[in-house]
């Protein structure tokens, strides 16, 4: 999730920024086009912290490589759109092995009803995924909203008017990034966009795996807000509240005894544009998982309680440096109960 969502943010940022970073392979006046786009990024997480690791990394060590490449083709012919995106990424999430893998990240066809409303079918972001970090300006995501991310078998409707945005998606037999069944997933968002203040509220619910994996039913609500205080200073607020049912017992291959865990997270972030090359981004973060709480009724005592207790707080300060178009050098440091001490990355888009 880490990589995908990072990239998704990057791409959305890229596309929504209006800059044409893609290589136009074929284009004509009605809007029909084929574009090739991509990214190569090298970098990773420094000094990942075993005591503060929740499920961020497959291993906690001095440097966890997060290098990444993506290559995508997107196109439109009349009202129809399509997109294919391949990722070459590190499996460095919890349970992974840190090795590279090639994965199809997106594979969908779409249809534009109007310029403001469209649908997509196939393997794509679920609706809420597009805005789950809306109020979080950091480039190395801070508090993660546990929404569904990319899903196969997804129908997504989105609309974007001058100020109002909304979207909804339905995914059949959704899966966790680990491949574990989560059941059908419905999520959606609704937001108000303006230059001064933008707010998005997202919700998600999933049907659960009914004993096939540890994931039971889930309900999630998220909020993202951005406030542009000055032309070069924005602040953001991102948060979520989740009730997630997880299995607490397994018999053979059957997961049993699902219990509800309530999780919270809140990020306050700020971005200051120093000049056209430099941005300063900082955040403060608080998150709280019931599964961390020793005194909660369903604490899993087979593991030692986390060092940070039932909640985790940290702050970050980072810089983006854009020496030229389509090149970003990022550096971030964290203090507090953060799972890593720093993050450094160079990425180039085309």
């Amino acid at each position: 999730m880490l990589n995908k969502s990072t990239v998704a943010i990057a791409i959305i940022t890229m596309l929504s920024a209006g800059s044409v970073n893609a290589v136009v392979l074929d284009g004509e006046s009605q809007g029909d086009h084929v574009r090739l786009y991509g990214e190569v990024g090298v970098g990773g997480h420094f000094d990942t912290h075993a005591d503060y690791n929740h499920d961020e990394f497959y291993d906690t060590k001095g440097y966890v490589d997060d290098s990444f490449a993506t290559l995508g083709v997107t196109g439109q012919r009349q009202q129809f759109t399509y997109r294919l995106e391949l990722d070459y990424q590190r499996r460095n999430w919890l349970g992974g092995d840190g090795e590279f893998e090639l994965a199809i990240d997106k594979l969908y066809v779409g249809y534009l009803f109007t310029e403001q409303q469209w649908v997509e079918l196939g393997l794509t972001d679920t609706a809420f995924d597009d805005y789950d970090h809306f109020g979080d300006f950091t480039f190395n995501k801070s508090i993660e909203t546990g929404e569904a991310g990319d899903q196969e078998n997804t129908v997504k409707y989105q609309a974007k008017f001058e100020n109002l945005i909304f979207g909804a998606s339905y995914s059949y037999d959704g899966e966790h990034k680990s491949g574990a069944l989560q059941g059908d997933i419905i999520n959606g968002y609704m937001g108000w966009m303006s230059d001064f203040l933008s707010v998005v509220v997202g919700v998600e619910t999933r049907g659960g795996s009914n004993g096939i994996s540890k994931y039971g039913e889930q309900k999630l609500i998220g909020l993202g807000a951005r406030l542009k205080l000055m032309s070069n200073l924005s602040i953001g607020l991102n948060g979520f509240l989740e009730d997630e049912d997880l299995s607490t017992r397994k018999s053979g291959e059957v997961h049993l005894d699902y219990q509800t865990f309530r999780n919270y997270g809140l990020t306050a972030s700020a971005k200051y544009d120093l000049n056209e090359h430099w941005e300063i981004i900082s955040s403060i973060n608080h998150e709280e998982y019931e599964g961390w709480d020793l005194l909660a009724p369903n604490y899993d005592y087979s593991e030692l309680p986390p060092e940070y207790g039932k909640e985790r707080r940290w702050a970050s300060l980072g810089f983006n440096y854009r020496p030229a178009r389509d090149i970003v050098l990022s550096l971030e440091g964290r203090v507090g109960e953060a799972p890593e001490a720093g993050y450094a990355y160079v990425r180039m888009y085309f």
Binding site: D184, G207, E217, R249
Partner: protein, 1084 residues
């Protein structure tokens, strides 16, 4: 002088050099009584030089005329080594526990005291004289001087002082390796005033014997009844004293001579005082009554003593009494309860203390019915803790009824429970034999000794017309106190036959359990049986992982145990059976549970359908429920459950039920601190084991959900064996002051509410079980050995707590690694109860009977319970316990130890291949009523195939009255069309109603493949469907559960969502925002 003589003299001079003066050592005095603390031996140096003891001079006690016990010091060297005895001086060897006062008196009299040594690793180093012992000195291998005849095993020196007399010539006597009583002055009773003084009495010194002469003035002679008085103590003993100031003369006729509970004889009034408030008899403690005969008249001079609650006289020797050689018969007096006893049976017995009595068929003629004495502990070892020498095999009777454990009918800790405890103490009468039983024979019951299977004695037998004498003695320490219990006893003096034991609960070959049902219905019988440690690993079975074998010690015992268990299992004829105390060696082919099931099944061989209801039908075969506990997809010896060498098990008849779901509920463990003293040192017990290490376990619960065949009714059984009462938990030792003690030998923990050890821990287990079972749908039964009596805390938790007793759990309990209650281990108060019904108790109480399944000490009560969910209440036909084990003496069990002669077949006279005493617990049983077609919501009828045939039940709806000639029809179609079943063989019959009162039709459907079907049944009359007669339901057609135990995978418990995220999900999202307090706690 010849050379040779000279050389001999020189040689002996040289060789004796080291022992100069040894010939001057002389044993000059001995004191001896039953109290070893005042036993002493005086040794005097009669020579003119000081004598230094070396290792060559050794001192021995000659114990009971049988054993030579050398007195050794703490370094295991001869006791006297290094002692120096001045010429003409005396040393006195005393017992290690001789009082300081006693020793100081000897020192004051000029003697040197040598205290002998007590060493727990060699207890016989100590001087321990108790009336039947001797003493000698050895020089090298030669006995040089001796007191007490070498082979004298009688109590030859009761309360006696012996003093060495001078030789006839006035000189000191010579040493003698043999004992000549005439060379000693015999003084009785014992005196200590000469110990340490070296002067010897003259050769002609008279013995000083305290010879009693009966007064001529008869007014000075008391009758036993005058000694006894009307109270619990004698009026002749001053307040606050335990013996009278002066000796008195008492005359009476010898009514009995016994050696149990104490050796002596009983005197009765020559003429009764006709006062029922006083006893007309008294016990005379004496080991010198060998020549006395019952019927003789004896006048005795003795102080009156209150000893262990009994008023008695005592005599060290026959000099204490005068005998008139009469032969007067004593008619035993019927014990009768009178109103002035005020309900105290102790008071009743006190009125007969020391008397020869008879137990009549009715002790209380003033009250309706027969109030008799009931056996409350069958013939067995009495296991008294810290007993005062009264450990032996005997029986206990109780007035009117066997003693019920106080918490059996009354809430533990309640005033009623305490009152029941007091009443048990009050009603108790220990039944003793006149001579000590060898453990396999009753001296007073020849019929039992020759044919114990016919002449058995059971708990609740009425003991009638048994004659004997009433005594009283202290039995055992009351736990947590330094006080002893006192009991009355009846020492039986007549010979008894089976007429004297009236069986109120005679042996039966099958349990008295109704299972009659209405015509179309059928009964399911469920039972619970403790298997008394059935272990097969030493005899070819799979090994268990715990390195223990608690069962049979030999192959012969094993076969005997198995045989009896197989018999008792067959006799219960249960459709599903919960087993406890079976070896925890997994579920492989060589597991203990497989062995039991295979052996039980051997009898069930009749295969033809016509025999299906017969006793030997293959339909009766059992299979055990296996648990793949290690998840390796195999049932094998590695699937042990929990952490104990014994486990629970379930067996069932696939002809009657099918498994839907199985699981093991891991039960809480206690992981508390080890009990330490004030210095933090670990405290050990008498066996060098840690007194309480804080680690305690229950057996894990086995939970199986069945579907009763021909119905869609779930029935879940949770089989349990909670932690026993026997060994302690952490709680027991809280508040006990250990000080700096590192050992706590033979001291039991306080038990104020009589729940035994670990009550709080059992509560923790009950709470967990109750919680886990709440999530199980359908009818539920918690059964097994809960190690708790009917009204003890764990049962209150699982049933109800109507008096709102404060029930507290154990501390530091964990479920796996997870604290069960509080993170800091502190206990919680349980206010929630789970509403189960103690059905065996309820049904038996309805019949005016008392439930019980276990006998401990002399109390009985139910540890084995069947607790049903209220949903089952209306299905209960009957419930009972079956007194086939606990009522019987343990002599009948499979074990060979302590059973006397083992014959050529490897067994003993008490063993028989029958059901009695197959275990130590009685089984508990219940029958439930089902009608074919009954079903829980959303559960298909379970219709197992037998030879391709199923019976589909059609419960004709109430309101539809059938007529002869109506036709019932059935249609069946697979619920899942995609299965593409081959239905070509399926025959769906029409059934013509032949009886106007038909309420149930069974369609015999042939050839339906295994699947879930939609079934529609209806009645047609004159070719038209009868309105309202149509019924539709789902039916699961399947093969029967195999007779080979198979793994049943747990299915999803429906708490993980249904996979579909829908609009209700979105609505419930509101709860996230706190708009509704809808947050769910999911349940399994």
């Amino acid at each position: 002088m010849k050379k040779s003589f000279l050389s001999l003299a020189i040689a002996s001079t040289i060789s004796m050099g080291a022992f100069a003066g040894v010939e001057d050592l002389l044993i000059t005095e001995m004191t001896q009584s039953t109290d070893a603390n005042v036993g002493a031996v005086e040794i005097t140096n009669t020579g003119s030089d000081a004598f230094t003891f070396t290792d060559d001079i050794t001192a021995y006690q000659r114990s009971s005329g049988k054993y030579d016990n050398e007195l050794l010091n703490a370094d295991a060297k001869p006791l006297l080594t290094g002692q120096v005895l001045a010429p003409g001086a005396s040393m006195v060897v005393v017992n290690s526990r001789a009082s300081e006062e006693f020793r100081n008196a000897i020192t004051a009299q000029g003697g040197t005291v040598v205290i002998s040594t007590y060493d727990s690793s060699n207890k016989y180093n100590n001087l321990f004289l108790t009336s039947d012992d001797g003493f000698f000195l050895k020089n090298g291998d030669t006995v040089i001087d001796r007191v007490g005849a070498a082979n004298e095993s009688s109590k030859w020196a009761p309360n006696t002082t012996l003093r060495r007399k001078k030789a006839a010539d006035g000189n000191n006597p010579a040493q003698s390796g043999t004992f000549d009583a005439t060379k000693w002055q015999n003084i009785l009773p014992i005196r200590f005033d000469d110990l340490g003084k070296s002067e010897l009495p003259a050769a002609d010194a008279e013995d000083i014997m305290d010879i009693f002469t009966c007064p001529i003035d008869r007014s000075e002679i008391k009758a036993p009844s005058e000694v006894q008085g009307t109270g619990f103590t004698s009026p002749l003993i001053a307040e606050g004293k335990t013996e009278s100031e002066e000796k008195i003369a008492v005359e009476g006729i010898v009514s009995a001579k016994v050696s149990i509970p104490n050796e002596g004889f009983y005197l009765r009034n020559i003429a009764s005082d006709n006062n029922p408030e006083t006893s007309d008899g008294i016990f005379v403690s004496s080991s010198a009554a060998g020549d006395l005969k019952v019927g003789q008249t004896v006048c005795i001079g003795s102080k009156v003593v209150e000893f262990e609650g009994q008023t008695q006289l005592s005599a060290d020797t026959a000099f204490s009494w005068n005998v008139t050689d009469t032969d007067i018969f004593t008619q035993p007096t019927d014990i009768e309860v009178i109103s002035s006893d005020n309900g105290s049976f102790d008071k009743t017995l006190e009125r007969y203390e020391g008397m020869l009595v008879n137990l009549p068929t009715d002790l209380d003629p003033q009250t309706d019915g027969d109030q008799d004495m009931r056996i409350t502990r069958s013939f067995s070892y009495n296991y008294l803790l810290s007993s005062k020498g009264h450990n032996r095999n005997n029986m206990v009777a109780a007035y009117k009824r066997p003693n019920l454990q106080p918490n059996h009918l009354h809430v533990a800790g309640s005033p009623e429970s305490k009152a029941a405890y007091e009443q048990n103490n009050d009603y108790r009468l220990v039944i003793e034999s006149a001579t000590k039983s060898n453990g396999t024979e009753l001296p007073y019951y020849a019929g039992f000794n020759s044919d114990p299977h016919t002449n058995y004695i059971r708990i609740d037998d009425s003991l009638i017309n048994a004659e004997g004498v009433i005594s009283q003695y202290e039995t055992e320490l009351i736990p947590g106190t330094d006080k002893y219990d006192q009991d009355y006893s009846l020492t039986i003096t007549n010979q008894l036959t089976s007429d004297n034991f009236v069986h109120n609960l005679p042996r039966t070959e099958t349990p008295d359990l109704k299972d009659t049902v209405a015509d179309d219905d059928f009964a399911i019988r469920i039972s619970s049986q403790n298997l008394f440690n059935f272990f097969n690993s030493p005899f070819g079975g799979d090994n268990n992982n715990f390195g223990q074998s608690r069962g049979a010690d030999s192959y012969d015992e094993y076969i005997n145990q198995r045989t009896k268990l197989v018999e008792i299992i067959r006799a219960q004829d249960a459709d599903v059976m919960a087993l406890m105390e079976i070896e925890n060696n997994g579920f492989g082919d060589a597991s203990a549970i497989a062995e039991i099931v295979n052996q039980v099944n051997i009898q069930y061989v009749d295969e033809r359908p016509q025999d299906y209801n017969g006793p030997n039908s293959t339909e009766n075969r059992y299979v055990f429920v296996g648990f793949d506990n290690n998840g390796n997809q195999m049932l094998d010896n590695l699937d042990a459950i929990g952490s104990d060498a014994i486990a629970t098990g379930i067996i069932y008849r696939p002809s009657k039920m099918s498994i839907e779901r199985t699981r093991v509920i891991p039960m809480p463990q206690q992981k508390a601190p080890t009990i330490v003293n004030d210095l933090g040192e670990v405290i050990k017990d008498q066996n060098q084991e840690i007194l309480e290490n804080g680690q305690n376990y229950h057996r894990d619960a086995l939970v199986v959900t069945f579907i009763v065949n021909q119905t869609g009714k779930r029935l879940t059984l949770a089989v349990n064996h909670l932690k026993s009462k026997g060994s302690t938990c952490w709680e027991e030792w809280q508040g006990v002051e250990f000080g700096n003690a590192t050992t706590w030998n033979n001291r039991t923990a306080p038990d104020l509410d009589y729940q035994g050890s670990c009550a709080e821990f059992r509560v923790a287990g009950a709470v967990h079980l109750g919680e886990e079972m709440e999530d199980v749908p359908g009818d539920k039964i918690i059964l097994g050995d809960l190690n708790a009596y009917g009204k003890e805390d764990p049962i209150l938790v699982l049933t109800e707590n109507p008096r709102n007793k404060t029930i507290v759990t154990a501390s530091h309990t964990f479920l796996g690694p997870k604290p069960q209650f509080n993170e800091d281990g502190s206990p919680v108060i349980i206010t929630k109860t789970y509403g189960y019904i103690d059905i065996v108790a309820e049904k038996l109480m309805e019949k005016g009977k008392t439930p019980w399944s276990y006998s401990f000490s002399d109390e009985i009560g139910s540890l084995d319970h069947i607790l049903i969910s209220p949903s089952l209440k209306d299905r209960v036909i009957d419930a009972t316990d079956w007194h086939v084990n606990a009522a019987e003496t343990g002599l009948y069990d499979y074990q060979n130890r302590f059973k006397g002669t083992i014959d050529g077949t490897g067994t003993h006279k008490f063993y028989k291949e029958d059901i009695y005493r197959a275990s130590d617990h009685d089984p508990a049983l219940i029958t439930l009523n089902y009608k074919p077609g009954d079903a829980d919501r959303n559960v298909p009828l379970n219709l197992p195939k037998l030879r391709k045939l199923i019976k589909v039940p059609y419960q004709i709806p109430t309101g539809i009255s059938t007529q002869v000639g109506d036709v019932a029809t059935i249609s069946m179609s697979p619920d899942d069309d995609e299965q593409r079943l081959d239905l070509s063989q399926m025959l769906l019959p029409n059934v013509v109603i032949s009886n106007d009162s038909t309420a149930l039709v069974n369609f015999e459907v042939f050839g339906a493949p295994s699947a879930i079907y939609k079934v529609t049944v209806r009645l047609q009359r004159d070719g038209k469907i009868l309105a309202g007669s149509e019924q539709s339901f789902l039916a699961k057609v399947s093969n029967r559960d195999s007779l080979i135990a198979d793994i049943v995978e747990e299915e999803s418990d429906q708490t993980g969502g249904d996979g579909s995220a829908g609009s209700t999900g979105f609505i419930s999202l509101l709860s996230l925002l706190g708009l509704a307090a809808m947050r769910r706690r999911l349940r399994k």
